[in-house]
């Protein structure tokens, strides 16, 4: 679940609340697991918002350094939180399930759904959905500077 607000003047998106609830069976090492969940969740939000990847015609990534390929910093989503749905998985070792791949998956969809709702329901179909993309939608619908 992601709650956000959009500055209709600049297109900037501010995440107000990001909550991820994950079912990974029994947590084996709780702190390490939460760290993985939080990390993957933030990766998903970055993937949906600022991680534009630019390829050239030969498939080389053009923005292949930290200043051009943007990932979230400490200041970008300070209100990210994670909870576990605690249920033992009978088929897994000590009741656990695989956890690492999970948190990345739902986050971009949640982010984009929130942006869609904020922008009044226009269907959006690509990530990352950057501030410029937001401004383009607002301009098209005449809602900029609202």
């Amino acid at each position: 679940m992601i709650e956000l607000e959009i500055d209709t003047y600049t297109g900037c998106v501010k995440v107000l609340d990001a909550l991820g609830i994950y079912d990974v069976g029994t947590p084996i090492d709780y702190n390490v697991l939460i760290g993985q969940m939080e990390g993957g969740f933030l990766q998903g939000i970055g993937f949906a918002s600022i991680e534009t990847m630019v390829y050239d015609r030969n498939g080389y990534i053009r923005n292949n350094n930290f200043s051009d390929y943007l990932i979230p910093t400490t200041l970008d989503v300070p209100n990210l939180r994670v909870l576990l749905h605690d249920s033992e998985y009978s088929e897994g070792p000590f009741g656990a399930k695989g956890a690492g791949e999970l948190p990345l998956i739902g986050a971009p969809a949640a982010y984009l759904a929130a942006v869609e709702q904020a922008l009044g329901g226009t269907r959006l179909n690509h990530v990352p959905f950057t501030a410029e993309d937001v401004v383009a939608v607002l301009a098209k619908e005449g809602k900029a500077n609202a």
Binding site: G39, L42, I71, T74, L75, L80
Partner: protein, 128 residues
């Protein structure tokens, strides 16, 4: 010549924060500092900082809250936290986030690292 293995090349852009050092109590990205610029100055890298009591508190705090996943950002985070606590021994969460804003982490989502710095600040009472 000491092994300064923790002064990493911060991917040549100064952005990763993983190449961090303290120069006269001021935090720097060492990948952006030419040696000629620091002649005559005191440079502290993680190797030197590891010998201190403050580091022991920091080390324990990071371990207690499992603030390390792959560990690549950790040296930079620790030095940035040290720089922060030297100037502000009891920072609130926003101040911690600002102090560490130059250090990128891909694995943890930052929350555990922030908690580790808070814990170090609480438990190291008097050291900073």
């Amino acid at each position: 010549m000491p092994d300064i293995s923790f002064v990493l090349n911060g991917k040549e852009t100064s952005y990763a924060g993983s190449a961090t050092e303290r120069l006269l109590d001021v935090l720097h990205n060492s990948c952006c500092v030419a040696i000629g610029a620091v002649v005559g100055s005191c440079v502290v890298t993680l190797e030197g900082y590891r010998e201190t009591e403050r580091y022991a508190v920091m080390d324990k705090a990071f371990a207690d809250v499992s603030a390390v996943q792959c560990g690549f950002c950790t040296p930079g985070m620790i030095l940035a936290a040290e720089a922060l606590l030297s100037k502000n021994p009891h920072p609130d969460e926003t101040e911690i986030r600002e102090g560490l804003s130059g250090n990128l982490c891909r694995c943890t989502g930052y929350n555990a690292i922030i908690r580790a710095v808070q814990k170090a600040a609480e438990e190291g009472n008097g050291l900073w």
